[in-house]
Amino acid sequence: MTQGPAVEAQSVVKHFGDGPDAVRALDDVSVTVARGEFFTLLGPSGCGKTTLLRCIAGFETPTAGRILLGGRDITDDPPNRRRVNTVFQSYALFPHLTVAQNVAFGLQMLGRPKAEVRATTDRMLALVRLDALADRRPDALSGGQQQRVALARALAPQPEVLLLDEPLSALDLKLRKEMQSELKRLQHETGITFVFVTHDQEEALTMSDRIGVMSAGRLLQVAPPRDIYNRPVNRFVADFIGETNFLPATAHAGQIRLRSGEVLGPTTVSGAITVAIRPEQLRLSDPGDHEAIPATVEGSTYLGTDSHLHLRLPDGSRVVARIPSLPQAEPGPAPGMPVGLRVAPGALQVLED
């Protein structure tokens, strides 16, 4: 499925306002999304992810740089001449048109014959399982149903790329989970390239083929979910995706050591560094284990299946380890108890600050 780029952003810069007080919403962003890919732009609010999406849709004109669709420069095309469609955050359904009329709108604007408009509309409504509500008005629908109308409306004209601007943020948790798998199914069935914007890292990890993490108008890392999680390029990415312990350390002679001297693991760099370790990559062992780092329990948080154990290391820094919760009868590690701590092989991430 992945052959040739569907959409490309080349050194896109976007400033809002003029002069010295201009806001740099996008700061030299370049990214290539492959055909048929589910690509997610992830970042906190205000990081520029929505601005990038709006540049692709044509609602914003980049201050500099180019947008390519299927290899063709569309930077100066108005939105209505770009074969991309958007699922808006607020859905933006036309309140005076029925569900079917909303879905048919794009096809009508493209001047498709009546019979084709009808057939495609029916097919799309069936695809999102809304055939029964075709003649309702949007305000008579629930949030989840409106969401599906918005999807069907954007998919109906068979765009080269479908842009989704935080489409699930207005839904409650249960519905959101449902819609996540629904979206995956739709993408699979239609084969259309999806560019998805979200600030929810879990959503990004579960749904995407690749994720682009953004912060302050810059694209920090583009990689598949596993690499983003396990090989974050910097502290921001490591911190934003999942939970992480950051430890100050020293690398010397192929070994990473805590400031207090205990060996954490091997490395190829040297100097003062920061290492990141995910909580679930830390294992408990006996206090006497001489290959483990001695630590002291400070407290624990019960999370259900797992528990977070708060520990203090010899150099005074604090870490969290995620361990399976013990059966209720068994006493857990009590505050003040000494334990040994092992780092899972390959779990150590050396970060550039």
């Binding site: 849709a57 044509g58 609602f59 108005p78 939105p79 209505n80 001449r81 991309v84 469609n85 958007t86 808006f88 607020s90 933006a92 359904l93 036309f94 309140p95 005076h96 709108f105 794009g106 604007m109 493209l110 305000d139 409306r153 954007a154 004209p157």
Partner: protein
């Protein structure tokens, strides 16, 4: 139902001699309700009296002589009234149409184009007829149209149409602008995203959603034109009475309930239009 009946006997037992308590309300102020109801009575009593006496059989406006519709018949058969009515309706239709058309364009210009230099000035200029006393505008138009009359010899309805269209503009503009400001701009983006050209987006999305505002604006402009006395009195050419100026003329003579009858019909007409505005603007915001 049964539950209430079962519970009922318990109440007096629990509070044997307690006087009925008025619930505490932080928002109630002493005497306010009485004054308010008095105001409503004062507003409606004169109008109701006027309506009732339009059905009076006797020509008196204070003694009731039985029910009759003959003042309505008199008004209907009065050539001057007929002529003035037709003129009023024609004038109001023309003025409201022109005012609504230009007000719609202006509302689009002042709400859809972002904040630009001069927007506040345009806004103030459009609302200018609301600020200048009518008598001043009336005098100004009397002078200017007098000059135009002398120069061209034209005596037609054009002067009234121009004057009425002008002072109706703000009344048409305000509801249209309000509607436009309440309209979600993302709908137009969505239309563009779905391949609609700007013109198609306007015709298929903006205009249908704007329609209630335009209808409300038209109806308000219509009512305002129909009601105008001062400017019409100064601008009209000889023999160009509207219903309002005809009535003003009648006050100089001995009044008969015929004026009540005309007023009642006009009142009913205004009410219907207002109810229309009310219903149209309440529908799907």
């Amino acid at each position: 139902m049964t539950e209430i009946r079962v519970a009922a006997p318990a109440t007096p037992a629990r509070a044997p001699a307690a006087p009925r308590r008025r619930p505490f309300s932080a928002a109630s102020l002493p005497g306010f309700t009485a004054v308010a109801l008095l105001s409503f009575a004062a507003l409606y009593l004169p109008i109701l009296t006027l309506v009732v006496f339009s059905f009076n059989a006797s020509p008196s406006m204070s003694d009731w002589g039985g029910f009759s519709l003959h003042w309505y018949r008199d008004a209907w058969e009065n050539d001057a009234v007929q002529e003035a009515t037709v003129r009023s309706l024609v004038l109001a239709t023309l003025a409201a149409t022109i005012a609504t058309a230009v007000a719609t364009l202006a509302a689009l210009g002042t709400t859809r184009q972002g904040h630009f230099r001069g927007r506040t000035a345009i806004y103030a200029f459009i609302n200018q007829p609301l600020m200048v006393p009518e008598i001043v505008t009336a005098v100004a138009l009397l002078i200017v149209f007098g000059v135009v009359r002398a120069a061209t010899g034209y005596q037609g309805l054009g002067y009234l149409v121009l004057a009425h269209s002008a002072f109706c503009v703000p009344f048409a503009y305000l509801p249209i602008r309000a509607r436009l400001e309440g309209l979600d701009r993302r709908l137009e983006l969505a239309a563009a995203d779905l391949y609609a050209t700007p013109l198609q987006a306007f015709r298929r999305i903006t205009l249908p959603l704007l329609a209630p505002g335009i209808v409300a604006g038209f109806m308000l402009a219509f009512v305002i034109s129909l009601d105008d006395v001062v400017i019409t009195e100064f601008v009209k050419s000889a023999g160009q009475d509207t219903l309002a100026t005809y009535m003003l003329g009648q006050f100089r003579r001995t009044l008969t309930p015929e004026v009540n009858a005309i007023s009642t019909v006009l009142l009913a007409f205004t009410l219907v239009l207002l109810a229309g505005v009310f219903l149209v603007t309440r529908k799907r915001a």
